[in-house]
Amino acid sequence: MTAPAVPAGAGGVVVARRQPGLLRQILRRPDGLAGAAILLVFTVLAVIPDILTGPLQTAITATGPRLAPPSVEFPLGTDELGRSMLNLTVHATRISMVIGLLATLVTVLIGAVLGIVSGYVGGRFDALVMRIADFFLVIPTFVLAIILTAIIRDVLGTGSREIFGIRLSLITIVVVIGITSWSSTARIIRSQTLSLKERAFVDRARVVGAGAGHIMRRHILPNVTNLIVANAVLTFAGAILTETTLSFVGLGDPFQPSWGQLLDAARTVGAPGLGAWWYFMPAGVGIVLVVFAFTLLGSALDAILNPKLQSRR
């Protein structure tokens, strides 16, 4: 059996084409609007941190005093190296968001490909994939993530090479999140594929002689795109939480602080006991707001894509 991988671009193009309609629908809903607005703010922070706060400060380029409270010069105070917390937090936004985004892409790519192929092809392949998916759904993935991080870091290496501006040590986290969280996406996409498979237009295509790869790409994929988008939104929130938690237990990279890494650093320095609230509050608020925004978006999408639920209200 052939299992043609869906090129990452294909899904993206379709999404892009469909987005205006979906986006307008989202923005018309209050929860969608609120979620989108919050995300827009954080996206701006993530895209142009250098313009907003200058390049990421290091131990060498730091200019402030040790653990200074907020002031005019340092609106969010400084850390123990005298770096501006505003600078760090904004750059951490970028790191957290990029890791979240990459992890989501990996997760959704694995989940969607396996879901569509397994649903369409069926048979033993389907049974195997779904057993494995069930396995990942059941086991405590966080403990697995902790263990995998050590192993994958060993495989990828930990040097300062960067991919998409992210150090290898953090790319590890992306991979780990991908491995541990693809299963629910795969399950959802698969069940949608199963029902699409029985539809008339797929039958017609098959009768005309279209290959399995063609049908999956041209007929199934476009019809599960919305579902993929909705799933990606929730995956993104989960990815941010997982990254944060992994960093908090010490698996982050101090050379590229994410929000979780900042919280870990704050804990190490003893910021709470020192009353240095400015050290951990910005990152904490950032995490909650972003996850909250994704949750709102998720519920908006859910309502839009599951009109059944909507009409019943």
Partner: protein, 638 residues
């Protein structure tokens, strides 16, 4: 032997609760016939009562409280009575006689005699001679083997005679607990030394010991409760019990100290320690470190079997030049918040008797580093990058174990400084287990696949172990830089046998000079130990040594016995310290600021946090309310 870097591993990451302090009244349930308890907080795990498995500073503290050393340490680290009362060596320093106190008893009432000491020392000698060669996961055996001890005999019930292969003064420094033979001889070497053997001797409480306190309760990993040994041979300590408690991090520990839930805390992080300054009834103490953090070079570079990235690593001139590119004072300021001393010698200044500052200390001077590199033949290429003598660009890999989080700060600086010299530094943390494997050289089937890395060592009362890491005999063992120098080896053996202090000093001085000149390591800094204790429950805290020491967690136990019940000296005895701020208002302590002081930081935080939470909730609720109102229209459309 030292407690190698692994010690610190346990100390550092552990995990942490963010904020702490036992403030509840229920927290001090001892109300009735209150035993006077000294509560000691540490961030190290309390994982063993079997001294052969002691690794951390806390482990050592526990065993040395319950077991005497043959000769202990006094306030000035001078040899003082331990299991033996007096001792003398023959003129040739080959025969050493120890007089064991008469009538001494173990805590279970059995007589403690020369036979116990003999059995313990013989056990070590037998272990070292055996196939395994070591006992337990600790590092105690070399204390005896370093002395050249050959035979151990009891000439009578109170006289122990040790004969050594070569003249030595180190027997009084032997950090080996004398164990009760009637208990320990029931177990085989394997049962004592191998934690995974059948019938492993855990040494469950109640422990039988000869020291002032013995363990009576143990929750592995969490706390050890020790009660006064009524049979202790010396003056009884004021505290009826000593409890060692593991904390998850500095923050909780400090809160607990402020609240009076502990009386002494060990190893506080710098900023929290600074913030304790001026707290009522709390004294802070900064101890000089008997150890250091270092930058170790793979001095074999890329020679056969080794996998350093450049041949330059093997060149003393290269390493020397880079020494000028290290602003050690800056590292002390940034990484240690100023609580340490820039490093030079492998013998920390803590060893006032042995430490010699190098005559020509390198200073931070990037221009000088650049000049020296160029002079040594390491020039820049067109791109401005430094090239080695094989014409290859020098890109160094710098790493450190994940247990030493603060090293990341050092790495940021080093990366920046070396970049100015045209040397790219690839800095990354390595999982500790992997680092241990990576460091190993071909002698142990390893690949030595590294350039330079950071970690730390902790030393003993005698500088012996700290000197040994640079001898070639320790290659493939504790000499991780693969440094070999015949003169250094020779000096090491000479100082080991030197019985005249002045003579030994001269030898050790030369060793320090060679070390500094050849730079197998750059010692980054001697990191101070930051402790704090309460002064309202016990008084009489004295440091060991008085200059640069700490009251407890030293060598031997004089600090515990020096303590005095504060209630017995205060004119108006204060009630048992049940609660923190509120209670101290009524107490005799003239500290009106007591309730404002400790809480102010927290209050501030609390208010801000509450404000933030309220703000967020408000935003959400308002948002949702607005949302609802607006959503009414479209829903009806559908």
């Amino acid at each position: 032997m030292p407690q190698p870097p692994r010690t610190r591993a346990v100390r550092s990451i552990a995990v942490l609760a963010l904020v702490g302090g036992l403030l509840l009244p229920a927290a001090a349930p001892a109300a009735a016939a209150d035993p006077l308890i000294l509560r000691v907080g540490t961030d190290q795990k309390l994982e063993t009562l079997n001294p052969w498995h002691s690794v951390t500073v806390a482990d050592y503290e526990i065993f040395q409280l319950q077991y005497d050393l043959l000769v202990s340490f006094g306030q000035n680290l001078e040899p003082s009575p331990g299991f033996a009362d007096t001792w003398e060596s023959s003129d040739d320093a080959l025969t050493h006689t120890f007089h064991i106190r008469d009538g001494m008893k173990w805590s279970d009432g059995e007589p403690a005699t020369c036979e116990d000491a003999r059995w313990t020392y013989q056990f070590v000698l037998d272990v070292v001679a055996s196939e395994t060669g070591y006992v337990g996961s600790g590092y105690l055996e070399p204390y005896l083997t370093n002395t050249g001890a050959k035979t151990v005999t009891c000439t009578d019930a109170s006289t122990l005679v040790v004969e050594t292969e070569f003249p030595t003064t180190l027997l009084t420094q032997a950090y080996i607990p004398i164990l009760p033979k009637h208990i320990w001889s029931q177990y085989t070497q394997e049962q004592i030394g191998d934690a995974e053997a059948d019938g492993f001797f855990v040494n469950e409480p109640p422990v039988v010991g000869s020291g002032p306190y013995v363990a009576v309760e143990w929750e592995p990993g969490q706390f050890i409760r020790m009660a006064r040994n009524e049979n202790y041979w010396g003056k009884a300590g004021a505290a009826d019990e000593v409890i060692f408690q593991t904390f998850a991090g500095s923050d909780t520990m400090v809160q607990a100290l402020k609240a009076g839930a502990v009386d002494y805390i060990r190893g506080i992080s710098a900023d929290l320690w600074d913030a304790l300054e001026g707290e009522p009834d709390i004294a802070t103490v900064e101890g000089f470190s008997n150890g250091y953090s270092y930058l170790s070079w793979n001095t074999k570079g890329n020679s056969e079997g080794y996998n350093g990235s450049t041949s330059a690593l093997t060149d003393v001139a290269f390493r020397d030049a880079l020494g000028y590119a290290l602003d050690l004072d800056k590292l002390v300021d940034a990484t240690l918040a100023g609580h340490g001393v820039a490093g030079d010698s492998q013998v920390p200044p803590y060893h006032a008797k042995w430490y010699v500052q190098p005559a020509e200390r390198r200073t931070f001077d990037l221009a000088e580093a650049d000049r020296r590199l160029t002079a040594a033949g390491y020039t820049r290429n067109a791109a401005g990058n430094r090239v080695d003598k094989d014409g290859k660009e020098i890109n160094l890999r710098l790493t450190w174990p994940d247990s030493e989080e603060e090293m990341a700060t050092n790495a940021q600086f080093i990366q920046g400084w070396f970049a100015e010299l045209g040397i790219t530094v690839d800095a990354y943390v390595t999982e500790e287990g992997k680092l241990l494997s990576d460091l190993v050289g071909p002698g142990l089937d390893g690949t030595a696949d590294w350039d330079f890395y950071m970690w730390g060592w902790v030393g003993d009362p005698d500088p012996m172990s700290l000197l040994s890491f640079f001898t070639s005999f320790q290659i493939d063992n504790l000499n991780d830089s693969f440094y070999a120098n015949a003169r250094y080896d020779e000096l090491f053996e000479l100082q080991q046998r030197a019985t005249d202090e002045a003579q030994r000093h001269a030898l050790i001085q030369e060793m320090q000079e060679i070390f500094y000149r050849d730079s197998p390591y750059h010692v980054l800094y001697y990191d101070n130990v930051l402790d704090a204790y309460r002064t309202d429950k016990f008084v009489g805290w004295i440091n060991q040594p008085p200059e640069g020491g700490t009251p407890i967690f030293g060598y031997g136990y004089p600090g515990y016995l020096a303590l005095i019940d504060a209630a017995s000296v205060t004119p108006e005895p204060t009630a048992a310290p049940t609660e923190a701020p509120t209670a101290s208002e009524g107490a005799a302590t003239p500290a009106p600021s007591a309730d404002g002081g400790p809480a102010s930081g927290g209050d501030n935080t609390t208010i801000l946090l509450l404000a933030a939470v309220v703000a967020i909730v408000t935003i959400v609720v308002v948002g949702l309310l607005m949302a609802r109102r607006r959503s009414a229209a479209p829903t009806e459309d559908e």
